[in-house]
Symmetry: C2
Subunit: 344 residues, 2 copies
């Protein structure tokens, strides 16, 4: 059995979606139908790909369409998601437009693949920061219950898209050459070389950013815990790929460092998690690790330690490739989950 | 009245101590006596300075000696602190060796200058991350009481000293030239270009680092709250100068964003704090700000917001120059405080 696959969007996430489909030998019938705002050829996942201008006719006959929209911008799925599902395809959407909408499931396969229903064929993939956090904390929640999450993020420039990656590279070159660093205020508010910018996506009246509230609201929806206490501070750092997160948990029941590590190291209890936590040998995961084999589709967890500042507290650090597990890999895993369940 | 001043250590902190003394017209009698491991001349604060090999005779007659030791290494004050105080001088110590020892006061002038006593002439200046945090949170504690602190840091390479600043620059050049990035495992565990490394100072058996426990223990001592609930995750980021911190507070009494900002903007209630918090105009403080006039001796606070995930919660972000307010400026402010109190 093979499936007719569409990909809408050819930025870094679109590139990774095709890579992950190929790496996993996803059964694609013929060539994937790749669409973007204008017709051209592009190198995607190392292949020369014909890109078509997105149009209704190209959705005809597709079984699954990946929307590779980037964070923050209105995604193509606003205009084309319904077209895809009307054509009979499953839409798997990396954009943020429908994640919190009723009738749209929001899926991290390791956590809530069961929430997919045949009625809701437009499936959303969460925010990159949310995905890695829920993969890391869901096993702890299943084991002992989580009462409250306090998270601070260290997010790569690539989360903003291709232009931000190029901006970063250009700024590094300018800095290295001793030139004044230029920046595009349409991307970040200041040069990201070398500074940490605590604003990702737009500010709300409360002082929080949309990115911070995505971490709160999407986590609650994925974990089916509509009242879980969560607060976030999201920060852009001078790193190209890979998000890191310092996570503080207040648990329902006690959990030692050793017990937490045992849960997180068990692939049955903690799918998608790889633990790198060996303080004696100065081993802990960083963003440089998460882009490499064999880690590039995993959530790396380390710095696990009991937090004595609260009853049943636990600290952890997690890292993941925001373009792969934080986006592309998660969407492909959703499609694989549909196949496993006989839905695709 | 002028004072005979000694400075032990000629790294980035020693350089800044002389700068801050000059900027503040600290009344120095003659030339300051600058000491290090070997005799030479050095440019310090833009001045050509004769550096003497540290020896007992050079402490004779000094009124105040600044120990400019860097974090992590055993500071010169272990060997020479007692020599300084025996010679009748006040020792003001940036090193970490005596901060938690009984009989040594640990001072952030905005918070606990009153803890200085004439009996304890060896005064310690806290860890850079601790200083900026207590300046930012002490006003909130005085106003409504703090029950618990959860802090995640974004710390600059310069916190490790001159060699780490040079290593960073070298790595940027290598990266920009497309070369393989080299690194000295004696400084950081991995290249810091471009990665975030969640280990600062040595690991303890609990999984915490010494840096994290400095933030816990030093904060308690400075704030005279030996049981205050505090937990920290300290992280090195690819930034040269300036530490940032995402601080989550659980308060004793309710405090809105507006009330918190009012406290923090009041120079009487919040000495040393400058608020940059204007989400509408995308204004918030970053490390790039804290090295510039007029901010370079301040703790910049922004991203203030109520945290609904706990009763009476508050989030804030603070930034400060780790070499100045996080080290040099704090030591000079201590000396100025001694003069004001008639102790020097």
């Amino acid at each position: 059995m093979a499936y007719r696959v569409g990909i809408v969007g050819v930025g870094p996430v679109g590139d990774r979606i095709l890579s992950v489909l190929r790496e996993r030998n996803f059964p694609i019938e013929g060539d994937p139908v790749v669409m973007a705002t204008r017709e051209r050829t592009e190198i995607l996942a190392g292949e020369e790909v014909l890109v078509r201008e997105v149009a209704e006719e190209h959705f005809e006959g597709l079984d699954v369409v990946f929307f590779a929209g980037r964070e923050g911008a209105k995604g193509a799925s606003v205009q084309w998601g319904q077209v895809a599902t009307d054509a009979g395809a499953w839409a798997i959407d990396n954009g943020s437009d429908f994640r919190m909408s009723e009738g749209y499931s929001l899926i991290v396969p390791e956590v809530n693949m069961d929430a997919v229903t045949e009625e809701n064929k437009h499936i959303c993939s969460p925010n990159c920061s949310t995905i890695q956090m829920v993969v890391a904390i869901a096993p702890i929640h299943r084991a002992v219950g989580i009462k409250r999450v306090v998270v601070s993020t260290y997010q790569a420039t690539s989360g903003w898209g291709q232009a931000a990656m190029e901006e970063f590279e250009q700024q590094v070159q300018q800095y290295a050459a001793g030139e004044e660093v230029q920046w595009d205020p349409g991307i970040f508010d200041k040069p990201i070389v070398f500074d940490c910018l605590p604003r990702i996506d737009a500010f709300l009246d409360t002082g929080y950013t949309r990115e911070e509230m995505k971490m709160v609201n999407e986590t609650r929806k994925i974990m089916s815990e509509p009242c879980m206490a969560i607060t976030a501070t999201t920060v852009r750092v001078p790193v190209v790929i890979g998000h890191a997160e310092a996570i503080n948990l207040e648990l329902e029941r006690p959990l030692s460092r050793e017990e937490a590590l045992e849960i997180l190291r068990d692939p049955q209890q903690s799918p998608g998690v790889t633990v790198i936590d060996d303080p004696e040998n100065k081993k802990y995961p960083t963003q440089a690790d998460c882009v490499l084999d064999p880690y590039k589709d995993d959530v790396l967890v380390g710095r696990v330690r009991a937090d004595e500042s609260v009853e049943f507290g636990l600290n952890m650090w997690c890292v993941s490739d925001n373009l792969r597990k934080g986006a592309a890999t998660n969407t492909v895993q959703i499609a694989q989950g549909l196949i496993e369940r006989g839905l695709l």
